[in-house]
């Protein structure tokens, strides 16, 4: 027998009915944009402009305008690539892994987290593509025959695995997101007044009627896609970690990289989800849907994954000492006490020490504090990638090749510019599509056991 739960807190507060859900969540789509949306969107466009200028300068002059050199051949570009790919991971984790674990609290946040995945992967893909230098022959990375200018691609190379992994991840995430959106687009189709809106939402709702037969198959397709996306998300960051781990560079050549990178990706991704949703719930009046309970659950995951990452940092150090390999030992001593000590200790403070504050209930339930901490997590995770890449490369086996590296103005512009891409896409998404999954939320309005 079905009855209301007396054990669990309600996932949606405010005693909402199904029509309240439609009204609340469709409000930004059906009404004119608010002032806060306009300000946010304009700011994003400015950053997008910064990206455009930096990219044009890079393309026009060549990647010599970046400060990368013979020793540090991967600098801010690959740091930013790993940073953005990592951020993308939380979306799939929330929509796929938490679906398999039947975690119903994911329903309020999965839509925006999946959108975040797609936008973050777009930002990530920019960097390896433009790092190629001659981007117009970028298609050589695809398995094309000799006539296109190269031999067949090398299937032993993790860089090629990346091409397949990132493109598959993007395509499958987009598909998963779109399938999840269809019932909600149909709801908007039946609510929107304008002719163009009716046409557009009608086109993308694909004639959805909410038939019981379709719902049954829809739930099965979602479940199978979740089952596929779960190993996919693990494979993507595992492959990203093998870009480093399969090389012979001290500090990179370690077997701990795949699980350590995956945990770091989930950690940073939840950081970004928290940044976005703490603001969105306030500005868009979604406090009844993204409740303190949701923030509590997210911060617990941040704390756990932060601790896993912290243990990985310490394990790396221990193994470097235990291996007896002097190059490995030097690489780690150089990380912590060399010229980039500030980056290393920023990483340690932000990723290992700071999230421990979430053991306190107050910290897990105070939105403004979670917002600050989410920024700290993202700063820390950017530094993690910078530390891994730059401190391992800047001191080669030959001391004559030792150099220092810092990002040029163009590299900084490109990085800040990707926030422009990310937030422009996110603001457009928040204006034209439901940020919260209405159909799933309607199914949990009654707190069923």
């Amino acid at each position: 027998m079905i009855h209301d739960s007396i054990l669990r807190d309600r996932l949606v507060t405010g005693d909402k009915s199904a029509s309240d859900v439609t009204r609340d969540i469709a409000r930004p789509i059906l009404n004119n944009p608010t002032t806060s949306w306009k300000i946010g969107f304009t700011m994003s466009l400015i950053f997008l402009g910064v990206f455009g200028v930096s990219l044009l300068y890079t393309l026009w002059t060549g990647i010599g305008v970046w400060n990368i050199n013979k020793s540090v051949m991967w600098g801010w570009d690959i740091t930013n690539f790993v940073f953005w790919v990592g951020i993308g991971h939380a979306g799939t984790l929330i929509s796929a892994v938490l679906l398999l674990f039947r975690q119903k609290w994911r329903m309020s946040i999965n839509r925006s987290a999946e959108a975040m995945t797609i936008f973050a992967v777009i930002c990530a893909a920019m960097f390896p593509v433009f790092h190629m230098g001659r981007v117009w022959v970028g298609y050589w990375a695809l398995p094309l025959p000799n006539a296109f200018g190269s031999l067949w691609v090398n299937f032993n190379s993790p860089l090629l695995w990346d091409v397949f992994a990132i493109s598959t991840y993007f395509s499958v995430s987009l598909l998963f997101w779109y399938i999840g959106l269809i019932p909600d687009i149909a709801t908007i189709r039946d609510k929107v007044k304008s002719k163009l809106g009716k046409k557009m939402y009608g086109f993308f709702s694909m004639g959805w009627t909410g038939s019981t037969r379709t719902w049954a198959r829809y739930e099965l397709v979602s479940l199978i896609l979740a089952g596929l996306s779960t190993p996919l998300v693990l494979s993507v960051h595992t492959i990203v970690s093998t870009d480093f781990a399969t090389s012979l560079v001290p500090g990179w050549h370690t077997t701990i990289f795949p699980p350590y990178f995956v945990a770091g990706a989930i950690f940073s991704g939840f950081g970004m989800v928290a940044t976005l949703l703490v603001v969105a719930r306030k500005v868009m009046n979604y406090e009844n849907y993204i409740t303190i309970g949701h923030l509590d659950a997210m911060t617990r995951i941040i704390m756990v994954t932060g601790s896993i990452v912290g243990i990985a940092y310490l394990t790396e150090f221990f193994i470097a000492w235990y291996s007896g390999n002097v190059y490995e030992q030097y690489a780690f001593a150089n990380r912590a006490f060399g010229p980039y000590w500030w980056a290393y200790w920023s990483m340690m403070s932000c990723n290992l020490i700071a999230p421990q504050v979430f053991w306190l209930k107050w910290a897990r339930t105070t939105p403004w504090f979670i917002f600050i901490m989410s920024i700290v997590v993202n700063v820390g995770m950017w530094f993690e990638r910078f530390v891994i890449i730059v401190t391992s490369l800047h001191r080669d086996y030959l001391p004559s090749s030792w150099v220092m590296y810092s990002g040029s103005l163009t590299e900084i512009g490109l990085f800040l510019g990707t926030f422009g891409i990310f937030f422009t896409c996110f603001f457009l998404f928040a204006k034209f599509l439901p940020v919260i999954n209405m159909s799933e939320i309607k199914s949990i309005l009654r707190n069923r056991e």
Partner: protein
């Protein structure tokens, strides 16, 4: 059996009796009662998934999982053949003196290709089977069926006791009842 599920279309249907519900528990109980009384429910339209309704109306178990497995085998075969053709057959390259034949380093690309093929193959099948096509004419019976109302559609057959069905719907908690014939709805 064609791939498209023809039951999903409302075109060329006999007269239908439409019941509108507000409460999902009442709807599940009423639908169950109607089916037990021998009434054939054509379909139930809901704004969110209501578990158990598919079994009540006698919808068959979906074959999507089998289709997904089939797509996975196709994807795996395609990727393995592609890598073998490029790396072994057409132009084997000696890279760091590593073996060229079936190495574990093929696994990531084989895996990604398999996932891609499975996800898209299965989803396209899902769209096709469920009449989900871009730009298709929308066949909603009630504009609120994507918002907050649950709609039961019963196709009439000659000799059907419509009055007793309408009574059962009313007693089961239907808040509105209509007739639907040739695209026109009449409130009862």
């Amino acid at each position: 059996m064609g791939i498209l599920d023809k039951k999903l279309s409302l075109r060329h249907r006999n007269k239908m009796l439409i019941g509108v519900w507000e409460d999902e528990d009442q709807l599940v109980a009423a639908a169950s009662e109607l089916v037990h009384a021998g009434v054939h429910i054509h379909d139930i339209y809901t704004p969110y998934p209501v578990h158990g309704l598919d079994r009540i109306i006698g919808a068959r178990r979906s074959k999507l999982a089998r289709i997904a497995f089939f797509c996975a085998i196709i994807g795996f075969t395609l990727m393995t053949t592609m890598i073998w053709y490029m790396s072994v057959h057409d132009w084997p390259m000696n890279i760091g003196n590593k073996p060229v034949r079936f190495t574990p380093s093929w696994a990531p690309v084989m895996f990604e290709g398999t996932v891609l093929c499975t996800a898209f193959g299965m989803s396209f099948f899902f769209f096709w089977r469920n009449r989900l096509v871009h730009g298709i004419k929308n066949e909603t019976l009630d504009i609120r069926q994507t918002d907050d109302r649950l709609i039961v559609a019963i196709e009439t057959v000659p000799g059907m006791d419509e009055k007793s069905i309408l009574n059962m719907m009313k007693n089961g908690g239907a808040i509105e009842m209509r007739e639907f014939e040739n695209g026109v709805q009449t409130v009862i």
